[in-house]
Symmetry: C2
Subunit: 523 residues, 2 copies
């Protein structure tokens, strides 16, 4: 498919009047064709206004139609075939297996939400029937369910050109719950974005969706994103990226005349607690597992294990040496884009120069990221806030601590995180239980005997966590609950059956699980 280089505004194209920018081969630095034209204020306005117009028709569609649309997007993405994978690899420097896996995950996710929409129970339908005989006042008939918020702005993530980008989890869950979506493409992978964007647009046309249900905007700077977040037609925003970028947009969203829900997933240090019994039992395999996790996709995961809590003593020393050896032997690798590489280089260089930190595996990063491993004493870690900052890339910091009470104090001092992990062995039972009691108030997900970088797509998954891991700790951007982010409950009191949504009608024609007079039933 020939790339065009202009925004997709509903079923037409952006004006292409602004100065162009280009994608870059992230491995070679070579500039890629075609030029991409940043959209102007007019393009943003057209896209959002089309989304506003589409909202009424889109939310009124039978849920089977929305499911069909989502499945059609997955099919069309698969039909893009190898050219999509090749472009994504060029623009991200991610390896073939990873990009293929990410494409498959993107399609799995679209079908996962399609299945939820079709099944239908996620709307949390509640029916409380009337009792005209009740005294002192008759009881009204009250029914409610989740309904969509309206046009959602989605920001593509640098580190997931497919699964957290144009047709990623945010877009899939927003479309699934009945909201039009306007996507802000990431400047680092415009070609990938255009390919996926045309798949979504074609799916919308093929399944008879209203124009404006989807638009894709290109922009090299911050202007497009800021214009989107402050546009009165946008009703919610989903963002995956840095804390600085996320918080700037959060403040914009909350300072609008009409504040809107803003979901930023801003990364995390994902502490891994290695308890003494586990280290004794399986220090070697743990070093191998953590090495792989730290270096997965050149460490460019928001669930990357950035802090390892390792007991002092021989078993800890052995683990430290084993992991350091692997890290020193790891080859340098290209990162997603020059800004991310520069940020990584700066942060690990600073850490290597900190006299209180031991650089157990470190060499200077030039045009490839060199994996780096540091070690620090628990006391220094806890008294040095910047050591809790995320280092985005193939690096981790071992924090050496004394007994379990040290590990517990460290857990208590953690900021909000996406994950924490606990590796426990014989004799660690009490320490693990104490850690769980603290960590459940600190993170979105606690992983046992495993690495945080695996993120299953399923109903129970939570990919979120208290601030600063996200801007809204009540939500998850992965898993079944992600669909609830772009909804609110709407209630109907004493409504004639014919005016109710199908999900709330007498006799449950939708056949979904509901709560009827406080009891869960499918009847």
């Amino acid at each position: 498919m020939a790339l065009d280089g202009t925004s997709l505004i509903g079923f037409s194209r952006g004006s292409g009047r602004e100065a162009p920018f280009r994608g870059v081969n992230a491995t070679t630095g070579r500039v890629l064709e075609p030029p991409y034209y940043s959209c102007d204020a007019d393009d943003v306005d057209r896209a959002v206004n089309l989304a506003v117009s589409a909202f009424g028709a889109y939310r009124a569609l039978p849920r089977q139609r929305r499911a069909e649309f989502l499945r059609q997007i997955a099919t069309r993405i698969e039909e893009l075939g190898d050219p999509l994978l090749e472009r994504a690899m060029e623009e991200s420097a991610l390896l073939p297996a990873r990009v293929r896996g990410e494409r498959d995950r993107t399609c799995l996710q679209l079908r996962f939400f399609a299945g939820m929409v079709e099944e239908g129970s996620w709307v949390d339908a509640r029916v409380d029937t009337a009792d005209p005989e009740r005294r002192p006042l008759p009881k009204p008939d009250v029914r409610s369910m989740l309904r969509p918020l309206g046009p959602v702005a989605v920001f593509c993530a640098a580190n997931f050109p497919l699964a957290f980008s144009v047709a990623g989890g945010d877009t899939a869950s927003a479309l699934a719950s009945g909201n039009p979506v306007v996507v802000n493409a990431h400047f680092a992978h415009p070609g990938t974005a255009e390919l996926v964007g045309t798949a979504v647009r074609d799916a919308a046309q093929a399944t008879g969706m209203p124009e404006g249900v989807f638009s894709l905007l290109f922009g090299s700077g911050h202007q497009t994103g800021q214009a989107l977040v402050t546009h009165p037609g946008i009703r919610a925003v989903a963002f995956t990226g840095s804390r600085r970028g996320g918080m700037a947009l959060h403040q914009l969203a909350q300072s609008r005349p009409e504040p809107i829900p803003f979901y930023a997933e801003m990364g995390s240090i994902n502490a891994v607690f290695l308890l003494p019994g586990a280290l004794q039992q399986a220090g070697g395999p743990m070093a191998a597992g953590l090495y792989a996790s730290i270096n997965l996709a050149v460490g460019q995961y928001c669930t990357n294990p950035g802090v390892l809590v390792v007991p002092r003593g021989p078993a800890g020393d052995e683990f430290s040496a084993a992991l350091a050896g692997k890290m020193r032997d790891a080859p340098p690798a290209p990162m997603l884009h020059a800004g991310i590489l520069e940020n990584y280089r700066r942060l690990v260089a600073a850490r290597s120069k900190d006299a209180r930190v031991r650089a157990v595996a470190y060499a200077e990063t030039q045009d490839r990221a060199v994996p780096a491993l540091f070690e620090v004493d628990a006391g220094v870690f806890m008294s040095t806030p910047e050591l809790s900052d995320e280092v985005f890339g193939p690096s981790s910091l071992m924090v050496r601590c004394g007994g379990p009470e040290d590990a517990l104090a460290l857990a208590e001092a953690l900021e909000g995180n996406l994950t924490a992990s606990i590796w426990a062995g014989p004799g660690d039972e009490a320490a693990a239980a104490e850690l769980v009691a603290v960590l459940e108030a600190k993170v979105g997900r606690i992983v046992f005997q495993g690495v945080p970088t695996t993120l299953e797509i399923c109903q129970a998954m939570v990919h979120g966590g208290p601030f600063p891991a996200t801007s809204d700790g009540r939500s998850t951007s992965v898993g079944g609950r992600a669909i609830e982010r772009f909804t609110r409950p709407v209630c109907f009191q004493d409504a004639p059956d014919g005016l109710l949504p199908e999900e709330l009608r007498n006799g449950n024609p939708a056949g979904i699980w509901r709560m009827v007079n406080g009891e869960r039933t499918r009847g």
Copy 2:
């Protein structure tokens, strides 16, 4: 019970060092005993720190213990007997039947949430079991449920000294979901607050709750509230009051180094659409019903019907005349406090002087609120934003419109509202369906053939709505879903059964409804 006049900080009292203020008899203006001492920064700090300390122990309690605590609060409030009702009447000028009803509603609500906590399914437990044989990667075991956020600040509402105050819906739902609560008393009913506060404190002591699970702070100005909202230990805020107050606190909450969920319910104009068929059929009873609703508790409901959409023509004229007659005959009545009275006087006086508005029932408000009814043409209404502002008190504005397309345009122009109501009769079916399709994106609750001021406590109720009705349109402050506001999902991956919360364990020992591998089951 003798009133003391100091804040309740956990199980002890505030310092009482700041300059005192006093409650006022809202009917006579007489100053009431005792003096109330605004808490100082130290008191706020102590209360929040106690709440932070209590959080770990409180959230770990078996759910039956939390239910027992909530029920004990209800019992203790009932045991306060007539002195509570008398003090609440003195401080609010609300009538005996209303205050008694509000007390009963408060206790009903506490028991409603106790029942939910005991039943337990509200935590939305999800279990996805492992599949070690899956290829290419084994499937992990993933489980999640809603867990509490942490200490919640609750602001008492002027217009509900019991049901939306110290032990009202916000406090009940926050305690139910496992969060300590620090209440900011309303300056207009400190005595009522202290009485209820001691009931909560006594219930906490009697049921062995950790100290700090509840505190009650007095303050005459904004300082106490601002100190609470900006305190790092506070994790969420619930507020019921004016748009100005709500938005000021919203900005504070969002500008903290760590932004927190902020739920403000800020009122609404609650448009009532009277369709032609309904007017023909039952104009008289509709006038009587709306008259009662507009004047309920001197119009001091956030669900007060502030706009009535009435067709032009003889039936509409007849309705207008009937309602105007009733409003003119209604006696003046004392309002909740001097500030609310002054605000009402100013707003209805301004409306009475507006040349484009017809004052069909109006007399100047002095020290008692005089019910007021205005009428305006739809065109003027839609081109005059300030006519959409809430007038808190016994007043409404009839908007006279042409055909159903006028009513529809008016619905489309509405801001976010708590409610809208539709009265439909023979021949109104199509117009009602069109209105529903528009209004479901504008309000939290659509009422049919009824008034918005009845607010049933049940699972399906929604008392919320898009901005500016609330600061967070995803939530409701009444009904079963209110409990979810102060929670977030927490996920456990590959956890040993013994380290899981009871709700997520194998074999479902809690006996709750769960989603297991995507299927709802109680097994």
